[in-house]
Structure formats: C-alpha cells, structure tokens
C-alpha cells in the first residue's frame, strides 16, 4: 500500500470514528437530519471566508463553515421554539436556504475571480478523499481526540440531556447549553469531514454508524464505542475498496460499506434486530395460542361431565373463532408437553398434568377478565394478556383479592371442586 493511500486510509478511518462518536447523540436526540442541515449550511461560511480573505486558507474556511453551521442550528431551534414551524420543516428550510445562499456565493466567486484558487471550494460540496494530506490527518485526529475528551468529561451530563432533557433542567443543569455543546461538537465533526467526503456523505457518516450501533445495545457507553468502531471500519473498508477498484469513488464506497453494516445489524442484532424480534413475536404467539387453547378446553371440561377427560375437537373448535388448523397445531404443541394425547375419530384426551395446566390458564384468564371489568380505566393500552405476566403486572394483594372474588362466584378454576378429588397445584 502506497504512502498516499495509507494517509488517506488513516484520515477516513479517524473521520469515521469521530463522526460515529458524535453522531450517536444526534441519532439519540432524534436529530439525525440536523447533521444533514449542518453539512449544507457550511457552504456559505466557506464562501464568505474565501471572499473576505481573497485566498484559500483551510483554517479560515473551516472557521467560516463552523460559524454558519452553528448559526443554522440556532436558526432551527429558534424556529422550533418561537413559531408554529415544526422541527422537520425548520430543518428543511434552513438546509435549503443556507445551501442556496452558498451556491449563490460560490457562483459569484467563480464568475468574478479569475485566479485558480477558486477551484478548491467545490470540494466542500462533493468532497475529495484524495485531497487528504498528512496535516489533515493530524487535524482530524485532533478533532476526534477533542470530541472524545469532551464526551468523557461530560458523559453523565450528556447522557441525561440526551435521554431526558427536562429532567436535566429540573436537576438544575444548563440543559440548553449542554444541548448546544452537543450540536457544536457535531458541527465541528461535520466541518472537519466536509472537504474529504462532501455534504451528503458526511450526513451518512454521522447517521449510519450510530443507527447501526443502536441495534446492538441499550447502553450509551457501548453504543458510543461500537458506533466509533463502525465508523472507523466504514472509512477503512470504503477507502480500501476504492483504491482497489478505480471506478469506485471513495465517498460513496464508504457510505455503501456503512449501508451493508446497517443492513446486517438490522437483520441479525440480538433483541432489537429484525430476526430476533420476529422470533420472539413467534414465541409470544405460540404461548398465547397455548394458553387460549387450554382455557377453552377447561371451559368445555367444566361444563360437561367433569370425569370425562376426552374431548371432541369439534366441541372445542366451536367455542372460539379459529380454524381447525390453528387448533390442531396448538394441540400438537401441547402433546409434546405431555398434556394431550390424540385419540381416533377427531378426539383427544387430557392428561392430569394437562388438566392442571388448563386450570392454571383459565385461572389467569378469569382473573385478568375480572381485573379489567373492575378497572376499566386501566384497560386502555393493555390490549392483550399473557398469564405469566399476571404476577408481574399486579400486586400480590390484588391477585389474592381477585382469587377471593372468583371463589365467591364459584368460578375459580380448580380440579378439586368438581370431581371431588384434590389436585393440588404444585
């Protein structure tokens, strides 16, 4: 690998890490697109700095970009707080108008200056990874270390502001200032990265690592670490691919690497990932089907002859609006547990253990039903019920009370009350 490639690789990886780090706060604050607006709003600042100085100076242009970037953030928050304009529209307005102004200034410069120094300005829109020099790497590294230091120092404060800014205010912390400091850090990262990757790709660098890391963890510290690593990996992988294949520009390659990481996270992340969630939803559905089936069986058993432990599937089927296939699959699952044995002529038998489970299920359903009837106002928001969560959801005294009431009404499901035998719950 050549020296230039190494320098570029170091630059993009560090940039990815830095953007991934600060991007976490933007994503968690639901302000992912503010980063986009910031990146667009930097253009007029770059142009103004050039117009004032008359020549190209990296520091001056970064400073100009930083100033208009922060101004755009202030505009967005002012519009949101002082007018009826909502956040999304405020972001869009600031983004397009600032960028429009930037294009106007850019054109003015291009039409009025004859020197060759103007050419560099456009890299702030499209980005040019090959322009990264060793001095830029030091700059990016400095920015990354600076952001990291601020985050480590104010970790606790940022955490509260990000997750509950009102609480931070109540605690007497300068929530608004902390919020602004976060935005300033994001602006800093954006400005540093713009000349290398350009407007749109910079937004991607802020959003994609953080959004991907979010799938894997619920802890902020872990998310920050992961996001920074993903950002660095994106930068490194994209740059390497781009140096292998000539047609692949580095900026888009970096973003597409990030998209792949995002898609993988979306699919396979434990708990928050799509597959994990589909699996747990399936488990929940199966458990619900089991409880419901047992409940229906218990009701049939209770009303027919208590001694009989054999049921016609048709009888059970009629009690609820479900298909034969649904009932059958639930029964098959129960037969694996040893609750049910299939008999000829569309019948099945319940074992003692099975009946015990059925009584438990029915007990849960009836208690929950009673609870909802008596506390109708609490029922909104509680759509469905799962017996196992009854003990978790209601205090013990309330469960005892519900049990008493069911017993008084003669609806408390035990196997003892009907056939005279005692089947103690274990």
């Amino acid at each position: 690998m050549s020296y230039t490639t190494t320098v570029i690789l170091a630059g993009t990886s560090l940039l990815g890490a830095c953007a991934g780090l600060v991007g976490c706060f933007a994503v968690l604050r639901r302000r992912a697109l503010v980063g986009d607006a910031l990146a667009h709003a930097a253009l007029p600042g770059v142009c103004i700095a050039f117009m004032v100085l008359g020549y190209r100076s990296l520091l001056a242009m970064l400073f100009g970009a930083f100033v208009t970037g922060v101004a755009s953030v202030v505009c967005i928050s002012t519009l949101r707080q002082m007018t009826r304009i909502k956040e999304d529209a405020a972001i869009g307005i600031v983004l397009s108008v600032f960028f429009g102004a930037g294009v106007v200034l850019l054109r003015v410069i291009m039409n009025n200056t004859s020197s060759g120094s103007k050419a560099g300005l456009e890299t702030y829109i499209y980005g040019k990874t090959t322009s990264i020099a060793l001095s830029d790497v030091y700059l990016i590294a400095g920015a990354a270390v600076g952001c990291l230091a601020v985050i480590v120092l104010l970790y606790k404060e940022f955490k509260v502001v990000v997750f509950d800014s009102e609480f931070a205010g109540v605690q007497g912390w300068p929530a608004y200032l902390l919020d602004l400091l976060l935005m300033v850090m994001i602006a800093f990262a954006v400005v540093i990265g713009l000349p290398a990757v350009g407007v749109v790709m910079m937004a991607a660098l802020l959003i994609i690592p953080a959004a991907s890391a979010r799938f894997w963890t619920e802890k902020l510290s872990v998310m920050l670490t992961m996001s920074a690593l993903i950002g660095a990996a994106m930068g490194a992988a994209g740059t390497t691919l781009s140096s292998r294949f000539d047609v692949l520009p580095a900026g888009p390659a970096i973003v597409l690497c990030g998209s792949v990481v995002f898609m993988i996270s979306l699919l396979v992340a434990p708990r928050r990932g799509l597959l994990a969630r589909l699996w747990s939803e399936r488990q929940f559905r199966l458990r619900m089907a089991r409880q419901r089936t047992l409940n229906v069986i218990y009701n049939v058993w209770e009303q027919s002859h208590p001694e009989v432990l054999s049921f016609a599937m048709d009888d059970v089927l009629r009690r609820k609006s479900w298909t034969f296939a649904e009932l059958h699959s639930a029964l098959v699952a129960l037969s694996h547990e040893g609750c049910v044995t299939f008999q000829p002529e569309g019948r099945f038998a319940m074992s003692d253990h099975g009946l015990q489970c059925a009584a438990n299920a029915a007990r849960g359903f009836r208690m929950w039903e009673l609870f909802l009837t008596e506390n109708a106002e609490a029922s909104s928001g509680i759509a469905d019920f799962d017996y196992r969560s009854l003990e978790e959801r209601l205090p013990r005294e309330m469960i005892a009370e519900l049990e008493e009431k069911l017993k008084e009404a003669g609806r408390f499901p035990t196997m003892m009350s009907r056939d005279g035998f005692s089947h103690e719950h274990n």
Binding site: V27, R30, R31, A32, L33, G35, D36, L79, M82, T83, R84, I85, K86, D88, A89, I91, G92, I93, L95, S96, V97, F99, G100, A101, G102, V103, V104, L105, L106, R107, V108, N111, N112, E122, I125, Y126, V200, M201, A203, A204, L206, I207, I208, A210, A211, R214, V247, L248, P249, G251, P252, A253, V255, L256, G258, S259, F262, L266, R272, L274
Partner: protein, 445 residues
Amino acid sequence: MTLGRWLSADPRDVTLGLRTIAVGSVCNVSCAVLGCYLVLRRMSMLGDAISHAILPGLVIGFLLTGSISIVPMFAGALVFGMLTAFLTQTLQTYGRVSEDAGMGVVFTSLFALGVVLISGIGRMHLDQDCVFEGKIDLVAIDITDFWGLSVPLALWSLFPVLVMAVAFILLFWKELKVASFDPMLATSMGINATLIHYLLMGMVAGTTVAAFEAVGSILVVAMLIVPGATAHLLTDRLGWMILWSAVVGILAAILGYIGAAYWNTSVAGMMAVAVGGQFLVVVIVAPRHGLVSKLVGNLELSLRIVAEDIIAALYRLEEQRTGSSEVDRATWADCRQFADGSLLTRPAAILLRLRGQLAFVSGGHVELTDAGRRLGNSLVRSHRLWETFLDRHFELPADHLHEPASRIEHFIGPALQEKLARELDGSAVDPHGRSIPPLEQDDTD
C-alpha cells in the same frame, strides 16, 4: 440590473428573463402546492430525501434504454422515490429505527449507490453542478415552437406536472385533508390513508424528477418546504394556504431571477434565497403567528393584567374603607406595589385614566371612577366566586385559593360569573369570610 434598467434593456434580454421566470414559476408552484401537505404532515424532510434518492433511478432508467430520454428516467426515479418513502416507513415500523435516522440512512445510501453507478458507467455525462443547480440558466435558450409561440423546452415536462399536481389536489381534496390532519379519522371514515400517503409520495417524486432537470435539487427542496411553511404562518385554512404557497413560489421565481441577474450568479440558488427571504419576513410580521404580533399580543395581555390588578386592589381598599375610616387612600406609589412593581405600571395607569376608570386627585392620590369601580367590582366578584368554587369542589388548603383565583380572575367573563354564582347557589361569602360583592349594574345604560 435594477428594475428601471431591466425595463429599458434589450427586448431580447427581457424575453429571456420572462422565459426563465415562467419556467421557475411553473416548477415552484407545482412543488409548493404539494409541499403544503408535506409540511402539514410533518414529512418535510422526505422531500429532501426523495430528491437525493432518485439518483440511482435516473441512472438505471438511462442504463436500460441507453439514452437520456425523459420517460424511462422518469419511471426509474419515480420507483426510487416511492422506495425511499416505503423503506423509511418500513424501517420505522419493523426496525424501530426513528424516522429521521431511517430516512438519513436510506437516502444517503441510495444517493451513494447512484454516484457509484454513474462512475461505473463512465460514459454517462452528468454535470455535477446540474445536480444542485439544474439548467435553469439555460432554459431560456432551449426553446421550441408551440402554435407560433416560442416556449421554453423545459415547460414541456414541467407544465404537465403542474397540471397533474393541481388535478391530484382537487380530485383528492377531501381525502388529503382528512388524511393530513387526522389519519385515524381518515381510516375510520373508510379512506385509505396509506394509499393517499403513497399517492402523495408518488406525486412528490414525479414533481421532483421533472423539476430536478430544470432547476436542480436545492430549488426543489427549498420549494417543497419553504412556501408551504411560509403560507402556514399566514393562514389557518388549507385552501388559502395552498394559494399563498403558490404566490410565494411565483414571487420567489421573479425576485430570484432579478437578484441573480443583478449579482450575476446562480438563478436556482438565488430563487432559494428569495424564498428564504420571504419566509424570514413572514416569520417576523405574519398577522397572527408572526414574532411581532406574538410580542404585541403578549404585551397587550400583560398591560391588561397590570391595569386590572391595580383596579382590583383599589376596589378592595375602598371596601375596607367603608368599614373603618383609618385606611388611607391609595397613592401613586401604592399602585406600583399593587402591580408587583411591574414596568408596565405607568402605561397601565395612563391607559386606565384615558379610559376614565382611574382619576388622579389632589395630594398624589388615586381614586376609582364609577366605571373603574364597576370593573373592580366585576374582578373581585370573579375572584371570590372562583375561590368559593375551588373551596367547595377541590380539597385545597385555604391559603392556596388566592393564587389561582388571582390568575383566573382576568379571564372570567359575565357569562361564566353567572354560571359560577348559580353553581354556588348564590353563596354570599367567600372561604376567607369576605362577602362576594353583588354585580353592580351600569347605571348609565
């Protein structure tokens, strides 16, 4: 080029300018009227996202046919526009990714894909500047003959889009309205809110594509969001909002062109700045939702409350004086105290005097006039009625009654007073043992 010089300029320049303004207006209006719904539905950034994400669609359309013709590229872009809306929605529903982050991931990825495709093909010429600025500077040159009139070529694709946008809005007026303001209600009324959503997204994508080529992406994003937001500050009626947004769009085209000609710069960029300028002006001076009118409204309210506080305090003082003659008459300094030392005390006093509710008598004392006494009576009556009401219906300690009552006394009108009195069965004493003054009739009537 100032207006005077512009009017006296070469007629050919004027024609060129008018053509540019015409193209800009048609494009701006089609974006603006659709954008109103984006603003209302809080989906403004979807306009931005779509305008970036259609890039791979344009390229694929080009790849499949091998020529830069409008129809396949249009179709490709439409597909990718809808895909953006769909993916964002799906990530939100099934991936639990917040809307903004999902949108950010989707549009940047698709845009990157588009750029990679372009550089992969190599032979597709795509001027980078065109992406942002379009060719509006050149539209005046590409003209075509239409029944003897020279019409800019760009209008051929933009005008049908405008017609479609307007037809779409008129046709689905009711559905769009309900679905924008209350999607739940829309669903319960049997309107398919999802279908309406995707139809709107399709329209936005289509308009974006058509406008993209002519004016570039900045102007599309600006015109989708800013005119709608500006109009939203001016009115609360949907119909007027759409009309205003169209006016703002046309004005932006005119002002933008003039500005660009004057400073010799990008027309599309200048139109975006022009619409931003209009927005800024409206934010400040809009009749009801503007900053100035809000400030004035707050000031008026503060003034009224200070004035009423003074009147009510003087009325209470008079009440005490009828009991014992030892209570002094109030002075100007007392008034300041009644108003909690508010800076508005003096203006409020002047206002009261102008209204004939307060009189300045010798020795620096102030006194209520008959009109002032009636106002004070009404205020104190409201105050004590409310205290009694609170005491009866809420379990509040006696020393917690005064504060809410002194806040709400300014907002209890005669009708509510009567209702409270009836509710309290004509109770004559408040919880502190003071009598609730009966309503004083205006004798002059």
